[in-house]
Every structure is written in C-alpha cells, then in structure tokens.
Symmetry: D2
Subunit: 489 residues, 4 copies
C-alpha cells in the first residue's frame, strides 16, 4: 500500500485503471480540491444544515438556501470540470464517473447534485420530445457558472422501496403539460432548476404500472416558484447537498416518454445513481484509509508509529485490498452501464446483466465502506469520536451512501429478482469467464442455483449470504480484469 | 425474540439471568427512565456539548458546566438508586452492574460517571490510608443529592495505550501530600469532586514502573479550585458525561497504596470500567434493536410490515442472538470481577482469568454493538441518517464505547499478553469446561496454542482472527452457562 | 434604591402597591422560580429555537415541539399558580397580572402563553355560545397539568398593523361550524390546544369590517391535527414561547360573537396582551437593573465598587425612578382594563379611556425598557456583549416586547385615533385630576389640544413628542396615585 | 435623504466630504463588498463563534481558528486595499479611516483587525528601535496575501478601565528582550502575528506609572507558539474578529519606547481605535438606516409604503440628520488625530484637543448608533426580532462598538479629566470658532465652566448631561465645518 496512492484519488484511479481519459482535467480538478475545496468542504460539514429563507423581507416566498457563498463556488467547480457535459461530449459516462470519484473523496455530498443533474439530462435526452429537449437540455450542458442543476425526485413519506404503493403525487393533464400535486419527502438537491419526478396520472391504477415520469422546472411559466421547500432535513452527513421536503401544488410539468413505460424510465434514472454510488463508497473508503494512515504514521506508541505495529499494518493491508475490490466492482458497474445507458425497452440481456452487477456493487461497496470508516475511527483512538477532527465524518458520509439509492436489504432483493426473472446470473458467469477460473465459476454457479431452487420464503430469508458470496466473487473477477487489461503503476 | 423483552432492559436482564437481585429497585429505576429520563436524555443529546463557564461575572475562575438543570436531576437519580453505594452494601458489584446496564440502555453517557465514581470509591477503599478513607469515602457513598462524584484520569495527549511513555504529569512531595502538575487530555466526568489520577513522582523512572496513583479532590484545602478545565471536548456522543482537558497545576493530592504497585493499581481501576463497558455495549445493541423493531413493525412495504419480510426477520433473529451472546460474555466478565475485585498484588490466577475474559468481552462486544447499531440505521432507511430521529444516536454511542477503555486493537494485544505471560487461556478452558463440549474445547485449545507458538511479529499480525474465535467460543459458553444455571422467562 | 427591592419581583410589587392580593401565592411562585425556574429559563434561552418534529417515524404528521422536558414543567407551573383560573375565580385580572409580572422578571417568553391563554378564555367566555363554553372553557381553567393552552392568532405575512387589508384567511360555513384556510405568520404559542383566530367569511368585504373572530381547536373532530406548523421562527429572544407559521387548511372553527362586531372583538383580545406587555417591560427593566446592580457592586475600579462611582450611582437612581414610573403606568392600564374587560359594544367612555392609557403605557414602557437593558449591558463592560453572561439577554427580551402587540409607531397612531375620535384625552385629564396639579393638567391639556388642531399630515408627523409628553405626564400621575393610596414599604 | 446616498458608504462619504482621496480605490473596495463580501459577512455572522482547534491530530498545540476559508479571503481584501500600508504611504490616516468606514458598513467586526494592525504598525514605527522596525514593520506593510496582522492587548480579567490596578502581566528582562507572563482576557484578533501588549516590569510599581509597552510576536525564536489562546469568546456580534483569552507564559517580547512613558504610549495606541470607532458607529447607523429604508419602501400599510407615512418619514429624516452629525463628529476626531499621531511626550495642546474630541466622539456616536439600530428593528416590525433577517444584527454590532474602547461612562470621565487637567475645552472653543456663532460658544462655555466649578462628587455625578451637550455642540460645528469647506453632492 503506497501512501501516495492512498492520498490522491487520481493516483488511486491510475493505480487501478492505468491510463486515464482526460487525465489533465482530472489532475486539475484534484488540484483545485487540494488548494481550495478541502477547506470549504470542512467548513460546510461543520456548519451543519443550512438555513432555508422561505420568505424575503417583503413577504414573498423565495425558498433561498443560505449556504456560505464559497459553497456555490465549490459546487460550480464540478459542473465546469464536466460532471455533466462530458457525458454528452464523450458519448460515455466514464469521465463523469471519474470526476465523481474525485469529488466523493473530498466531499461526498457534492457528488449527489452532479450525478442527479446528469441523470436529469440523460432522462430528458432519452425521453423528452424535441421541443422540450431544445428548451432545457442546453441549460444542463452549460460549461460556465450559469449551468442549471437537475434533480430526481421519487420518494415520498411512506418510503422509497415500494414506489408502486407509496407514490401519491397525482398528475392532471392541462393542455400541453400536466399539473402535479403531492409531497416529495427526501428530495435531494432541493432548489434544483429542473427535476424529473415520479407521479401518477389521475386516471392511472394505484400500482407500479400507474407511475409516469415528468420533467418539472423550478419556475412556472409566469416566473413564480413551481415548487416550494417545506424544510431542509437535518442530515448527519452529505451536508453539501440540500435535501428537502418538496411540496408540489399544481406544479407545471411535462410527461417524459410514454406512460406505458413510466416505471422503466424511473428505474433507468436510478441506474446512474446506483452505479456511481458504488464508486462513491470506494472513494470514502479511500479517504478514511488515507486519513488513518496519516494519523497512524504520526502516532507513536511503544516506541514506534502505530502504523508499523504488526496487527495494525496487517489491517491496513487488508483494508487496502478491500478498497481495491470495492473500486473494481463499482467500476465494473459503470463500464456495464456505459454499454447500455442509451437503451430503451425492450431491454437487451446486457441491460439485465448491468442491473445485477449494479445491485451487487451497491450492496457490497456500501457494506464495506462504513466498516472501513468505522475502523478508521478506532485507529484514531479517542480523537475518533471528536467533532473537532475530520475522521468521524467519513463514517457519517459512508452511512448516507449505504442508505440512499436503496439499502443493502433492497439491493439483495432486487438483485434476486433480476436473477429469478431474467436469469442475470447466467449472463454474469458468462461475462466474467475470462477473469475467474472454471472451478471458481462452477462453484459459485452451484451455490447460486441451489439457492434459487429453495422455496420462496427460505430463499429470501437466506439471500444475504449467497448474495455476499456472489458480490465478492464478482469483485475478485473485476480486480482480475483490471490487472489483466491495464498496466497499473 | 419477544418484543417485550427487547423494549425493557429489566425484562431482558430477567430473560438472561432469571431472578434478579433487588428486582424492585431495578424496576423502579427503569420506570423513572420511562417516565422522565428518556426525554431528558434525548434533550441532552440534542443540546450537544454543554458550555463551560470558566469565570463568573466577577472574574473568579469557576469552571461551571452549563448543563440543563434536569441533567443534574437525571444524574443524581442513578446515584440514589445505588450505582455506587450498593457495591459496598452488598459486598458485590452485580447490582451496580445491572443498574449500569439499565442506565446504558437509556443514556450511555451517564453510565460513565457512575462507573468511575464506583471505581474511585473502590480504589480509595482498597488503597487509601484510614484517615483518607474516613474523610472521603462517606462522601461517595451518600444516598441523597449531596453525593460526591468520582473520576479516573489517566490519559494524556499522546494517547492512553502506552501510559508508561505518555504520562507526563509529575508529582512532587509536599508534607503529608503531593503536588501534581500536568494535563489530562481526556478527563471523563470533568468537574468531579474527587479523582484518582495517574502521575509520576519526580524521582521515578520514565517508564510504566514509575507511575503511581493519587487521590485528588476538586477543591484545595483553602477552598480554591484544585484543578481547572481547559475546555470540554465536542464528542459525537455520550454527551451526558462532560469530558474535558484538565489542567493540574500544583494540585493537592494523596498517594494511594504504594508507589511500587502504582501501575497495578492503575490497571485495577480500569478493570471495572472495562467489564462494565462490555455490558454497556450490549445495552446499546439492545436499544438499537428495540428502536428498529418498533420502526419495522410500523413500516409497511409490499403490503406488510417490513419486520415480517423474511430477510429482515432473519436479521432480527440473528442480531438478537448476537445480543444474547454479547450480554452473556459481558456478564461473565462482571461475575469474574466480582470474585477478584478485592485482590491486591500478588494476584491469584482467578485475577488473570478475569483479565483475559474482560479483554475478550471488551473486544467482542464493542465490535458487535456498532455493527448492530449501524444495521439499525439501515432498517430505518432514510430516517436513519436524520438528526431528527433517535436511531443514529445509538451508533454514535456505540462507537464511543468501542473506543474508550481501549480500542479493539488494544484489547487484542493486552489479551495476548495475559495468555503469553500468565497462561490465562488454560485457566479459561478449565473454567468453561462445564459449558462447552470437550470437542469444542480441544479445538479452540489447539487453535490458540498453535497461534501462540508463532514468531512474535506473525503472532501479533494474525492475532485478531484467533482472538475473535476465542471471544465467540467464550460467549457461547457463557450463554450456555446462563441457560443451565438460570430459568429464563 | 434598595437592592432587596430590586432583586425580588414580589418585593418590588409590594414597594409599589403596598398590600398584595394572594401574597402567599405570589411568594410561593417567586420561590419556585428562584429554586428551579431561573436555571431552566437560562437553559431554554441558551438552547435557542427548539426543533419541530413534523412527522413521526411512521410518517404521520405530528408537529411536536422538542423543548427540553423541564420546559414543560416550568410552563405548567404558572398555569397551576393561576395565571388563567384566578381571573375567573377573583372576577379580576389583577392577580393574574401580578403573576405575569413575576413570570416576566424571570422569563419574559413564558408570559406570552399565559396572557394569550387568558385572552382566549376571556374571549370564549364573553362571546362563545353556551355549548361552546361548556365544552372548552373548563379545559382552560384546569388547575393541574392537564390544563389546555390558548393562543390568539391574527397577524399574517403582510403585517399586523393593517389587519383589514392583510388578513387573507378565509372562513367558509360548514354546518354548525366554519372551515378556515390561510396562513398565520407570527403565531405565538404555536401548538396551543385552542386558538382564537381572525378570519374573513367568504362573503365579507375585504376591509376591517369584514373580519370575524373564530375559536379553533388543535384537533379536528376526528382526532387529526386541525392546523399544521410550517416552521418555528428563529427569534432572538422569548425562546420559551414557540412562535410559528401556522397553516390552516379547511380547519374546523366556531364563530365567536357576531360577525358585525368581529373587529371590536379582535381588538378586545389584544387589550389584555397590550396592558400586560407594559407591565412586562417594567419587569424586564427591573431584572436588567438587578443584574447590573449585582455586577456593579462586585466590580472594583479605582479602589471602589463601580456601583459607588458618582456618575454610575446617579444613573442607577434615575433608572430606578424610571422603572417606578413605567410600572405605575403599566399598572394603571391593568387597573383600567379591570374595570372594562367585561364590556361589549357599544363601549362606555371608561373603555375608551382604558384604550388611551394602554397605548400610552405600551408606547412608553417599551421605549424605556430597552434603554435600561442596553445601559445594563454597558455597565457590564465587555461582559455585556458575551453570550456567556445573562445580561445581553434582557435587551433581546425587551426588544421583543417593544415590537409585538404593536410597535411604538403603532401605539402612537392608535392612541392619536382614540383621542381624535373619542376625545379620550379629556377623559384622561379628568381621571388623573387627583394626582396632578391643576397647572400641570392645564399645561398638558393645551399641549395636546393645540397638537390635535394641526393639519392631518403635520399632526401625524409630529405626534411622537406630544405622545411622549402625555405618557410621561400620565406616568407621573400614576406614581403619585400609588404613593397616595398605598403605604409603600 | 437620498436613498442612493444611504445605500452606498462611498456615496455617503462623498455627500459628507466632497472630493475623496483615492476615490477609485474606495469605489473598488465597495464594489468588492457588494459583489462578494456582503454574503460572506452574512455567513460569518450566522456561523457564530468559530471553533478553535487547539491541538492537531499529533497532539501538538496549534491554536488554529476554524473560520470558513472565505473569511480569510475577505480579511485579506482590506489589507490589500490599504487599511494599513496607505497610512505610511500617504503619511496620513485619512484614507485608512475611509476604508475602515466602508468596512464597517459591511462588516463591523473586520474593522477591528484592520485598526489594531495599523495601531501596531504605528506603535512599532514610533517607539521601536531601528533593528526591531527593520525586522517587523515590513511584514505589517505588505500589500499581498502574506501580510502580517497586528493586535493591541491591554485588558485583563478585572477590567479595562483601571489599567494601573488591573494589569497583572509581569515582564522579566532576559538578555535583549523580555519574558512576559499573564493572561489577556479580551484579546481582539487573537491569532495575530504581532501584538503590542501592556505589561508591568517585575521591578515596577503596582500603579499606572509601572506599565510598559511591549512588542510580542506570535512565534518564538525557535518557531513555537509564543502565546496560546485559552478560548475564543462567544460574542453576540463582531464575529469576524476572533476575540480570545490569551495566555502569556514566558512569552518573548521587546520593550517599545521607554518604560518612563509606558502609560502614554499605551494611550497613544488606543487613540486610533477610539477615533475609528466613532466613524464605525456612524457606519453602522448608516447601514441600519439603509436596511430600514429598503424595507419601509416595500412594506405597504393602509394603502401606501410605510416609508411615506408622515411619522415614519419624519423619523427617517431626523435619524439621517443624526447620522450626519455623528459622522462629522467622528471625522473631526480623525482629522485632529491626523495632526498629532506622530507626537511623543511632551505632547502639544493640539494633542490634548484631539483627546477631548475623541472622547466626545466616542461617547456620542456610540450612544446614537444603537438607538438608530434599535429603531431600525422596530421599523421591521416582527421581522426585526428574527435571526433570519439581517436587521437585528446591526444593533448587536452597534453595542459592541459602544462598549469596546471604553463605555460611554468611561469616555465622559476621561473627557472630564482632559478638561480639568489640560483645559482642553478652551482649545475646543477656539478651534471651533469659525463654525459656531459667538452666542452659541458663549453659551456652551458658560455651561462647561460652571459645571467644572462644582465640587468633585457633584461634578462627576452630573457630568453626562453637560458632556452630551458639549458633544452635540461639537457635532453641529463639525457638520458646519464640512458644509463650509466642501461642496456636498
């Protein structure tokens, strides 16, 4: 474990991937974070949840979010570096994902607006009619300070797992557009200029098939606020993305794509978040390890740095190896998404393969990142539980990534479904054939198949062990894939 | 897993231990917490680190800690219930430990002053000369609001693991007492009326043999402050115990016991904290499970409470089983301590056996409690990362218990030492013989012995796996012991 | 200026009024504040605006205000002492006003719920039909912890001065009750069990004549919340009363009295707040003086306490004299209100006399209290601008009393109106005839009459000087009245 | 009152002074504040007292003040604009004072480091020996981000008025320098690179003649911290200057000037702060008026903006006139200081004249600024007591300026002394002869002389009325002086 690899996200990316696309841009972005962003991020976290100024002095509703000015500067830095526009320029998500990895190493919360802005742009590009695209897409692709931000608001107060039952926002047709009414309970990037929103047309059935996807701008045609923020949530982390309760009251919106495929389009939107989240968990793990290594090299006990004590040295090596596996698995999900992000229903097998890998990656990376972050607190001893030092932050950040985009529980069940319904595990074994031995594959195949043959309730109850084994198998293969195809530093 | 057992610490104690000593007192204490204490504890946690008023308006140093008044009411509740005096009345630590368990279920921070006040009383009783005991012990044993609080201050800024190297507080003799000068960096229960303090007589060697133990009151003979608090630490949890940086400047103190046995006496003081800490981790795990079960029974997804979803139901059952093992292992350490807490050097084998069990218990309980608490956050989904709801608190609390009294790393290394030097593992296998099968014992014995035969560096590097296995073996035996000897509900 | 008079609100009341009604109850109440309440009040102020928990974990709207538990204990203390029920038992407001004075000395914020609960009870008693009174009045008059709280919600976002134009809450008839919809922007005691609310029936004109008064309970007939709290306001003081933005959405309510007299009834409700507010300003001034005197007696400069420096000693004497005048003027408004609080339209001359005195008292006391409180900060020197010491709080508290119930500007203009329309100044000179010399009266009469003869715009522009002179004249007469009729200590 | 004059500090300066020196630089500085600084200042105030990180993770004392990064950017903006270096380049304080006025309009706290850095540079330049000046003065005069900050630390815990009695910091000679030990209780700009400090050589008498002035750098010769910060004070305002309790423990320092003139040199240091403080109070009054005018023009009641209501319109006009007087008086003190800031004992009459004017200006401006700021809160109605809106801030800021550099009480007594001892009032009447009528001068001369003829205790007790009259007379003459000599806009 090289300390220089640990301390720099770009170095680590190079260590894992070899040559990087747009390396200069990545290095520039990292340099900005080291010179300015780090301290801004610390201050944002310390400041806690920002105030929401709902009304101005004249009594007009304004819903202004009172971050420190430098927050906005930091936020725009990523947009300018290309967290959205590069996907359209490169016709590939990879560089955006690398920029998100760097962002997450320094400030996990900021990754969220970047990823959901990209998801908004993609959804609009895929499903918006030409006039809508002409009107709004350029705003999201700007490369300067005037860039618009996007958001993806699905979840309501009864929870995000069972959208079919829990989305109560109603859409009523009104000329060329729709009027939406309802409350979005965990609306990330509240204040966004443009949101894609799940709602139920008023004549649609109250189940998952009744959902549709809409595009909703911040301002009404007449310039007024098109949604209001009831309040910002006091989150324990990711304080650099304002998460709010958003109230839609006859809010103007446009249907995206077709009502028939509403639920598929909603899931497409989540694909990007889920895959990037896996990389983000790895980035947090890297950061927690880097902070710990710095500390442990300076802390002396029994005559030498605790970094050199055999037990701790072994733990560092093992956690670094876990980090490599987590990254490789997350990256595998990005690569697979990059092949299918332009697909529409009916989806190909590669789309289902991506979905399984994304569930495996989200599950496993968000299980290991908090463990590493928690261990980093232990390395710091009593300093690990003080607000004064940054290390406890990484656990808080890791936990948010574990929970949003679906908890481990959710990933397991959804991953099971794509195996049961689409046979995605077969696609997986085929796809990974080059990077695992035939014996390994035969072994894990038997493991999975015999599990899937169990009765329903038993199958679900015991799913975690099987799913973890499958995730670790996939992670090992992914590491192997990288070391075969690339020349690491 | 009965929900009524989960929701009540006394019910759980009865489930594990059968008949309880002073059950009425325990029930009364729990009732107070349900009626009043819970809400006070929530408010204390929300309020964050209290202010320290260093000077009064007239410019006199006062070091007043500005908790809400109700905090002090809650604090005294436990003292009156017997967290200190019952140990002396019963000549046993067990009821105190049970009261601490209840306290920890409701407010882990408060357990700290209780335990270290008891440790102060025990140290004074064991090692104080008669005049000193007559003067101060009654203050600590009062059963009303005038009771004094104790504290045990060892750690300095360079860390608590390597006391021999890191204690820089110097003691100079001055007539019948000593004058201490130095800084205690993590002084729990700052503001205590009486503290036992590790310091180095000015003519002593700069190693672990040079340490001695002192009794230091809050007020000088002339009524002035005998120590000052430089500041209170902003901890992420256990906010109900003020942890400060304490400055000793020619502070008056009395030597406890003999200089020759200073380091042993210091370790004796830690025994109680360590054993109680293990129970406390179990209490936090119980609380986190109770909160999750309440939530999961009310949260509906896909048509039924998520508590009844097969995968989650299985996780609840497994975590409850882990909780039972953690408690049993913690309780084993309390029972063993209860046999030896009056010993002085040279210690018996039973003392060394206790030490091994305490290390195993501290290690394993403080590894599993944060895992369960983190999982409880996941069960709550997005609510799990909001400051608004109590569940994220239990992870924060669990982490403090993981770290103070020595991290996992420390427990492993110290546990290894007592096996290597005192052969404590042999005593353990003997002691647990009735509650484990001969095969199990033979297996674990081989595992331990072959590990101890490894070269030093390899032995230390690989210690964790072996130590975890040994801890789990001991926990299983402890559960078995309880179910054989007691009639659970 | 006796320090013992300054330090005790009851002593001061006795100094000003001689024998006090229910003196034992007043002394008991003060004793509770000294023993427990003071520290609770300090903690409440330090804690800042409490959290509003809008939803419970199951996603149900609950709007729970998360004060520390001891806050609720302090709150109920006053209700039990009689801040509401004594007015009905005594058929007089005087004892309630004395209890409010004591409350305000210790915690100005708490006075608010007490006064508006009383105002709610009075409005219901005066204007509710018998069934409504039977149903709700007993709840407000309870003498134990189950007592209900009232509230008086008039102001909306465009401001409270011009209710005729700014009340946009609409009331629609619905069977035996009404459904109210609108937003109350500065709703004091948000969370109250019962509120009197200004609204406009949907067929009423959009002016001050179109307003009516309604009684609105916290819970709907079906048990649900009848209003929601959008948020609590971050006030700089009076943090012990939660002030919120309240949303009425088809909220169930009953009409009080007649629509024809709606605006008069609304003003009646404010009478009590306004008169008590004047006493409250005096209480804050007393507290600020008491704190300063304590400090100045302990602070030494140039060899003696600064309290004894000639310039400061003179300032203390003058401010104490101002306090006496402020109290006497405030008390005069209470006494006058006590004569007319049961009147209904058409009102007698004594009612209009009360109104003028109340405007004079609100104006002048809320002008002098912040001045004294600000001076108290200066006395403390640099300690006066630290959050650590309580003195700066009294300025913050004083400013809230200056502003709510109508700023000085508002009092002047409304006071002018009652002179212009009702000739209330003639009633005043007559009423104060015994306590001022004929010359004084002749002088002030000429002053007022010549001012009232000015052209409209000039009359309004120059109103403050005249109004101040009239207020000070009235205050002097009121002091004279007390010293003639009572035997001060 | 022109709204454009009110809303821009440079416009107001031009309105008062006509042509401005370095006008372009002043306009640039104002533009920066409008574009960036305003929002930074709001965020700094909202953030409250910053954290002090006393130790780094390795346990080294670091005393790092955790402001948001943008704070440091804002801070350096003024240094670069010339708040220190221009005084030396121009050989005049005027442009620095104008920059300070602009700073104070936007962020009163920041003015403090600027003024005391200049005072440090002046003290060093006046009294440092050549080697000391060569070493340190260039650091303070840098025009880029590497500029050093100064500080002036006199006050100790017993208060700042009576330095002779209350300075307990002791200086012991040590070779070419001194070692200082003691505590400075209100140390503004804690963290400064260089401080001038009052201390008492160990052989000096315990009175005001025993004081001497020292120069004390942040770092010892060996690079270690030369002073430590015990804590930062929680002030209610001026949060952009960190005020701390500073501990000197054998801190290395150099004597400035001669011990014989120590107390005079200390007072010289205060001259600049006092004069600038008067301008600062005016700047805060301007800001409070500007905020109120903006609000009052947008707030409608009874059919028109409240700004146009006759009573309020009159109040605006009067307060603006008061602002003009306050500024003119403050500016008079700056102009007089500019004539004498290079003097050393024995001082000329013009020096004593400056001192009287400075006391009059500090007294009166800091009496009227909080009054105007408080009135601005009233104009805002209920918004005036919300933390959400900026107006209440200006009262808080004004109060700090009232108190630091000596309260009103102190100014009166010190102003009296310079009249009694130096006959400074005679110099004043002579100096203002051109700008007041002979009758006015004769009148005020009689007023002052007859007062000074009173017995001591009576003279002091009644001093405020006379002093206020003299201040207002001087302010009127100063306004007259400006309108005669300059062509206002």
């Amino acid at each position: 474990m090289e300390i220089d690899v640990l301390r720099s996200p770009v170095n680590f990316l190079q260590h894992m991937l070899g040559a990087l696309p747009h390396e200069d841009a990545l290095r520039d972005y990292e340099s900005w974070w080291e010179a300015e962003g780090r301290a801004i991020s610390d201050a944002t976290d310390r400041a806690g949840t920002p105030w929401l100024r709902m009304f101005d002095r004249a009594g007009r509703r304004v819903d202004e979010i009172l971050f420190a000015p430098e927050y906005w500067r930091a936020l725009r830095q990523g947009y300018k570096a290309g967290v959205v526009w590069r996907a359209f320029e490169d016709q590939s998500l990879e560089t955006c994902a690398l920029l998100d990895y760097i962002t997450c190493y320094y400030d996990p919360g900021l990754t969220c607006p970047y990823v959901i802005s990209l998801a908004t742009a993609v959804a609009l590009d895929q499903h918006g009619d030409p006039a809508l695209k002409d009107r709004f897409l350029p705003m999201l692709l700007r490369r300067d300070d005037t860039v618009w931000q996007g958001a993806t608001w699905m979840t309501e107060i009864k929870g995000g797992s069972d959208l079919g039952a829990n989305v109560e926002t109603i859409a009523r047709p009104a000329g060329d557009r729709w009027l939406l009414s309802g409350d979005k309970y965990f609306a990330s990037n509240a204040g966004a200029d443009l949101a894609v929103v799940a709602a139920r047309p008023d004549d649609a059935p109250h189940n998952v098939r009744g959902l549709a996807l809409f595009l909703l701008p911040k301002r009404r045609e007449d310039g007024g606020l098109n949604y209001t923020i009831r309040r910002l949530k006091d989150k324990i982390a990711t304080r650099s993305v304002p998460t709010g309760e958003v109230e839609l009251r006859d809010s103007e919106a446009w249907l995206l794509g077709s009502r028939e495929h509403g639920v598929h389009q909603i899931l497409e939107v989540l694909n990007l978040s889920r895959a990037t989240n896996s990389l983000g968990s790895a980035a947090i793990a890297q950061r927690a390890l880097a902070e710990s290594a710095d500390f442990a090299r300076g802390r002396i006990a029994f005559g030498k740095p605790i970094f050199e004590h055999p037990l701790m040295a072994k733990q560092f090596r093992e956690h670094f190896e876990t980090l490599r596996h987590a990254f490789a698995l997350g990256w595998e999900s990005i690569r697979r998404l990059d092949e299918v992000w332009r697909q529409k229903p009916p989806y190909s097998d590669r789309y289902h393969l991506f979905r399984l890998i994304a569930h495996l990656a989200k599950y496993w990376t968000s299980d290991v990142a908090p463990q590493i972050a928690r261990w980093a607190m232990e390395v710091h001893g009593a300093l690990g539980v003080l607000g004064e030092f940054p290390v406890e932050r990484w656990f808080r950040e890791a936990m948010v990534l574990t929970i949003w985009e679906g908890t481990c529980h959710r990933q397991i069940l959804d991953g099971m479904e794509v195996m049961e319904r689409k046979g995605a595990h077969h696609l997986l074994f085929e796809a990974l054939g080059d990077w695992a031995s035939p014996d390994e594959i035969a072994h894990i195949r038997r493991r999975v198949e015999s599990h899937l043959a169990l009765p329903q309730s038993e199958r679900e109850a015991g799913a975690e062990e099987m799913f973890r084994d499958l995730a670790m198998f996939t992670a090992r293969a992914a590491v192997q894939s990288l070391s075969l195809s690339e020349a690491p530093i």
